[in-house]
């Protein structure tokens, strides 16, 4: 319970800091609206066997954009926050707290994920109200636990990125590389079936593709390439395997930095 309170305190701190910049909320939603509007008009130009009608492509890409937002928040925001903490000297208090640096760093993922989910819901509503996106209302509630599972499956990438920040201080390039790779391989903007055979395997060995497939099915009724349990099994399996590994990486990075004396920068 006390650990939950400590994680909640980090969430609250991040929320207060976010809210202290009044323009941030506006720019977050404005960027989302512009992006959805832009893709609506692009979708009017798209008709193909793989993606169907313009409306079907729009539904496809809206869900892709939401997942992409979650991915970016998991990978980029905690890295940037941790960098700022290291430079401001505030990370020192995390290291020297009974809650500890590993739990504190893992808690950095909470607010960005929650924000990404809120923006995701707002995106669906905007696309539905303004552009008539046809939501599959009977399965929409199931998207909530599916999104939570997807977020858990993405968390190991965020944790590894923060471990790299602890070790090397700069990992923006790494986060950008992963995000770019996922954009290409996970079927965010186009179906992975369009990829050449020699690279298509890469879309099956990470959690992003099953997460977008599952959420597309639950939110807008896009057909799944395999039965739903296959996507669920992939997400569960990836989480069960990679979460302990990524936490071990983070623990090792913190321990090494303490030994080297580089755990803080100020």
């Amino acid at each position: 319970m006390r650990h939950a309170a400590a994680a909640g305190a980090i969430f609250k701190r991040d929320l207060l800091l976010f809210a202290s910049y009044r323009a941030r909320l506006f720019t977050t939603f404005f960027t989302m609206a512009v992006s959805l509007t832009l893709f609506y008009y692009v979708s009017r130009l798209v008709t193909s066997k793989q993606v169907g009608s313009p409306d079907e492509y729009y539904a496809f890409v809206v869900v892709g954009l939401i997942i992409f937002g979650v991915l970016t928040s998991t990978l980029s925001t905690p890295v940037a926050t941790l960098r700022a903490e290291l430079q401001a000297g505030t990370f020192e208090r995390m290291v020297l707290s009974p809650f500890g640096p590993v739990r504190a760093i893992a808690s950095l993922l909470l607010f960005p994920l929650a924000l990404a989910l809120v923006v995701g819901v707002a995106s669906l509503l905007y696309a539905a109200i303004v552009f008539g996106l046809d939501l599959r209302w009977e399965t929409v509630p199931l998207a909530v636990p599916a999104a939570a599972l997807g977020a858990l499956a993405f968390a190991p990438f965020g944790l590894v990125m923060t471990a790299l920040v602890v070790l090397f201080k700069q990992t923006n390039a790494g986060a950008t590389l992963v995000i770019t790779g996922v954009t290409l391989l996970a079927g965010v903007y186009f179906p992975v079936a369009l990829l050449p055979d020699w690279i298509e395997w890469a879309s099956q060995v990470q959690p992003f593709t099953p997460a977008v497939d599952l959420l597309r099915n639950l939110l807008v009724g896009t057909d799944l390439p395999d039965p739903a349990w296959v996507a669920l099994l992939k997400l569960f399996g990836f989480t069960a395997l990679m979460l302990p590994v990524s936490l071990a990486c983070l623990r090792a990075a913190v321990a090494r930095s303490r030994r080297q004396g580089t755990i803080i920068e100020s």
Binding site: R2, L16, S20, T90, E92, R93, I263, S266
Partner: protein, 228 residues
């Protein structure tokens, strides 16, 4: 008064609140701490003086468990900073040098709330602890103010409040008088007196030539990596 600080070998096993035993730390080829031994009894405040770059901050960082020594051991009430990390940190209060470690856009009260939760304090103890810390450092009128609207001295008082809010038994303060006026220094003096009264101990780093607080029992000089 001098008996409060003894070479570690002379201290009976398990009586010192904070012990450093044969601590060695280098930065590259620069040997900052060479076999440093120190044992602090309960109700003791020791000042460590030294020139700039003598290694005072490194000594406090090692003593706090923030960084680990290459050789040697640190014990707080017999606890190891790695093996018993949670318990070790819950008994420790630490103030770094300078004015860093605050969120410019957060209010003072939010800092203290965060600190009590990171300290894993029980819910019922958090609010009284915050109020005690606000009172101890005369921050009651400032608790609703954002850090970027506080003066440097007020920020230092907040940093001190954060170091004491969870009622640690051992406190390590790196140049606590930075930016403080006479009233602020008196508050530090009072906080250390209260700490001693409840059996706690503290190390306070001061620059060579700096005037140690009257509460200090003994001043040690850190020179060439050794405590004299």
């Amino acid at each position: 008064m001098d008996a409060a600080v003894e070479p570690i070998d002379a201290a009976p096993e398990g009586t010192a609140a904070l012990e450093l035993r044969g601590v060695v730390k280098s930065w590259g080829d620069q040997h900052v701490l060479r076999e440093v031994d120190l044992a602090l009894d309960p109700s003791t405040v020791v000042a460590i003086a030294g020139r700039n770059g003598a290694g005072k901050t490194t000594l406090l960082r090692v003593a706090s468990g923030l960084i680990l020594p290459e050789r040697g051991a640190v014990r707080l009430d017999g606890l190891d900073p790695e093996r018993d990390r949670t318990e070790f940190q819950s008994r420790l209060g630490y103030l770094s040098a300078g004015n860093s470690g605050l969120y410019a856009r957060l209010k003072a009260e939010h800092h203290l709330e965060l600190a009590t939760k990171l300290a894993l304090m029980p819910r019922r103890e958090r609010r009284p602890a915050i109020e005690r810390a606000l009172q101890a450092f005369e921050l009651e009128q400032l608790c609703g103010r954002r850090v970027d609207r506080l003066s440097m001295g007020q920020r230092q008082r907040l940093r001190l409040a954060l170091s004491f809010v969870h009622q640690p038994s051992v406190v390590l303060l790196d140049e606590p008088s930075t930016s403080l006026d006479q009233d602020g220094r008196a508050l530090v003096q009072q906080a250390l007196n209260d700490l001693k009264a409840r059996g706690g101990c503290a190390i306070v780093c001061v620059p060579t030539g700096g005037e140690p607080l009257p509460v200090v029992d003994r001043v040690l000089e850190l020179s060439e990596g050794r405590l004299l």
